[in-house]
Symmetry: C2
Subunit: 303 residues, 2 copies
């Protein structure tokens, strides 16, 4: 089963306490599709400029990501520059140049309109809605958003949420969207806005998943080497959706397992800059880490 993802492809310049990279491959669509590609077929809708080099096209192809929806247009590719301190949970944006991404109007290739799984990465909620209308009857729709849209485009976002099955956002966004300081209460309020499932990303603290009658907590896989958290959230979403699409299991148990796979994928992504770790990852490593993860949280019940 294939996943259609609409998001950004970018050049990132990133500085962390552990190193510095300039104009490396990044973007929500990139991280998502690379990660999902370990589990499912992926179709990427995004835009790049004339400066996007062959080596990056080659990377997507090596991951078998279908680029039939990746437009290359006159102008420069989206650029983001950020810095992380020792608190790797928080990115400090230094520069954002939207470039060709500013006028991005996602065009879904006709053959892709029957996509079963759809991930709407963080773009204007109006555009997310447009994409959603162009996909005929997806089995599962997940989306991300950010503080800027929650503040500036709340009405558009509130129109979108009832049409979304799974919302994947971070802690601060959950509090902001739910207008409530307590995370659990905020999550309940967000569920009431439409999505059947809310996945709250908490960086190095892991993930909480909320449904009407249950909460699931998945701690992050503990890592001794974290070089660059950029893209961890989209890599999580990619592993999560990729696994769901590969199993067709949308029960709560299926979603819980998918969350662990998403977490595992994110744990690999942050071990190196850009997509470097994804380039040298194989499926055996993913399963191996999943098995180790189980030992991380196991404990005996009461007799």
């Amino acid at each position: 089963m294939s996943i259609l993802v609409v998001g950004s492809v970018a050049f990132d310049s990133v500085e962390t306490p552990f190193g510095k990279v300039e104009e490396v491959l990044g973007g929500s669509g990139t991280y998502f599709s690379a990660s999902a590609s370990f589990f499912s077929e992926v179709q990427l809708v995004a835009v790049v400029g004339e400066d996007f080099p062959q080596v990056h096209f080659d990377f997507f192809r090596s991951r078998k990501v279908d680029l039939g929806g990746l437009m290359q247009v006159p102008g420069k590719t989206f650029r983001w520059k950020g810095r992380y301190g020792y608190d790797l949970n928080e990115a400090h944006t230094l520069e954002t140049h939207l470039n060709v991404f500013e006028s991005f109007r996602p065009a879904i290739p006709p053959a892709w309109k029957k996509a079963d799984y759809l991930f709407l990465a963080n773009i204007h909620p109006g555009l997310q809605m447009e994409v959603l209308k162009n996909v005929e009857s997806p089995r599962l729709v997940a989306c991300d958003t950010m503080n800027f849209w929650i503040e500036k485009e709340r009405p558009a976002l509130l129109k979108l949420l009832p049409k979304v099955d799974i919302l994947i956002i971070n802690e601060g966004e959950t509090r902001q969207l739910g207008e409530e300081a307590n995370l659990i209460k905020a999550a309940r309020k967000v569920l009431a806005l439409g999505p059947r499932t809310l996945v709250v990303k908490r960086g190095e603290y892991g993930v909480l998943m909320f449904q009407e009658h249950s909460v699931f907590a998945a701690p992050a896989y503990p890592l001794e080497e974290v070089y660059d958290p950029t893209g961890a959230g989209d890599t999580f979403a990619g592993g999560f959706m990729g696994y769901l699409a590969s199993t067709h299991n949308q029960t709560e148990a299926g979603i819980r397992q998918a969350i662990i796979f998403g977490s595992i994928m994110a744990s690999f992504a942050v071990e190196d800059f850009s997509l470097e770790r994804m380039k040298r990852l194989d499926y055996g490593e993913i399963e191996g880490r999943f098995r180790k993860y189980r030992l991380l949280t196991e404990f005996k019940g009461l007799d």
Copy 2:
């Protein structure tokens, strides 16, 4: 099996976004012993001033805490005043008046020197060592400390740690003691300083437990109502040690279960100010929440 705890008994004045209390019962020894008392017999060594009222003595007795080591001396009881913002993970200390606690020299009643379980709450590491020398051959010693001692009394702390089985500190203290920004690496360095087990408290994110060859992650029990996080760490330690003392099971599996009981106790403590929630808690509620907790983290393995 009974637990000997040495710590503080205090009057706390606390302000959170959800309310405000003045001069209520608090202190590390208080929270620890109230919590541990749900599982084991507890012997408390601490000091209070002449202003300590009968109603608080009565509370300890209602929890069957043995007060044979609680000295009442001329002067005023330790007072702490603090404030929490919406980020309930961080206390802002407004005032500290050590009063009679300033010259506290823990005196272990002779009959208690054969204690099997010993918890050294956060006091000067030199005093912690003195207490340790006065307990003949404890089966298990756990201790807490804080940023101030790590910075100012590092040599005394480093002498103590090889004699401690389980160190229970927070994330920031782990990084500071391990002199390392990455928490997992910092934890490894702390283990190398002596304790066989390190328990890292992360507030609303739960607990990580480190031993030489394993890591255990326990998310916090999700709560819709958190009124006052004061004492959560000592309440955790009390539930943890209390459960260990009740089972005599110091295997890794036993310690993992104890961590869940500690987390459950902390989750109750923060639901009200001071010891109010402990006053109306019963063991059935604790077991009930333990069973719910299991559902929080369960997921299916690979076939």
